[in-house]
Amino acid sequence: MTERDDTRPKRDEAAINEAQLPYRTAVPEEFFPLRTPEDRGWEEFRDQCRRQMQRPLELRIKYGFCRRIKPASDQISMRAFKTMAEYRAWCEENLPDYLGFKRPAQ
């Protein structure tokens, strides 16, 4: 009979099942003292993702869709393009730069 190896680090069950735990807003700073502001920004974004995934679908739709008036794009009620290339070209030619429909190289 072999003896159990108790020197192995104990599994942290709570950490493994983190997704099932009540939501926590942040990891205590002392755990990751070398985090950069960018790391913290992504942690905050990850927390936003978790909160949003916990919301029911109805609320995701409520908070996720908001219409605003778009110049040029809203002038007619329908447009159709035979190819995506034609559509991209139309957007680049007709929509203002600040809407972001252009490719960065242009």
């Binding site: 995934m53 219409r67 329908m78």
Partner: protein, 176 residues
Amino acid sequence: MTPSGFQSEQAVQLARAFDEEGVDYLFIGKGAAILLGFPFVTQDIDVFADRTPENGRRIVRALRKVGFALGSDQEKAIIAGNDFVQIKAAPFDLDVIFAPDGISSFGEAKSRSILLEGFRIASLRDIIASKRASGREKDLLDLEYLERFRQEYERLHAPALRSASAIALNRAHSKR
């Protein structure tokens, strides 16, 4: 009538109408990611549809059912399967896309899709591939956020192990 933002009851009506008419479709784009929990905001709904005349006719019937007053030009464009049809008539803005950038086949995308409370949604990997392939500034700005969201989503929604036969059945179903 000025279109308003997409409301949850409209979303349910649209998904139900597509289902009742047997439309082969996937929600795609940022709106689809938002349905999965992506914490961003968008204004319209993008639908990736299988390009067949019959599916086009089903789309037209479904859209009329939820209140779109489609004219004959719109009907023709959808049935003909034009790559991109943008509808700004009430009740909300909708893009019907038959050939999104970065996705080679509807069947394959459907086999990877997610069914969420009656909504058929493209996989996040396909949504990201499509955004990356479009190369537009506004899509490129979203990419890193979408990637981070995908990692978190997949961590919390790890797919169950599936048998080889289940995968084969799913592929056969998606090809039909």
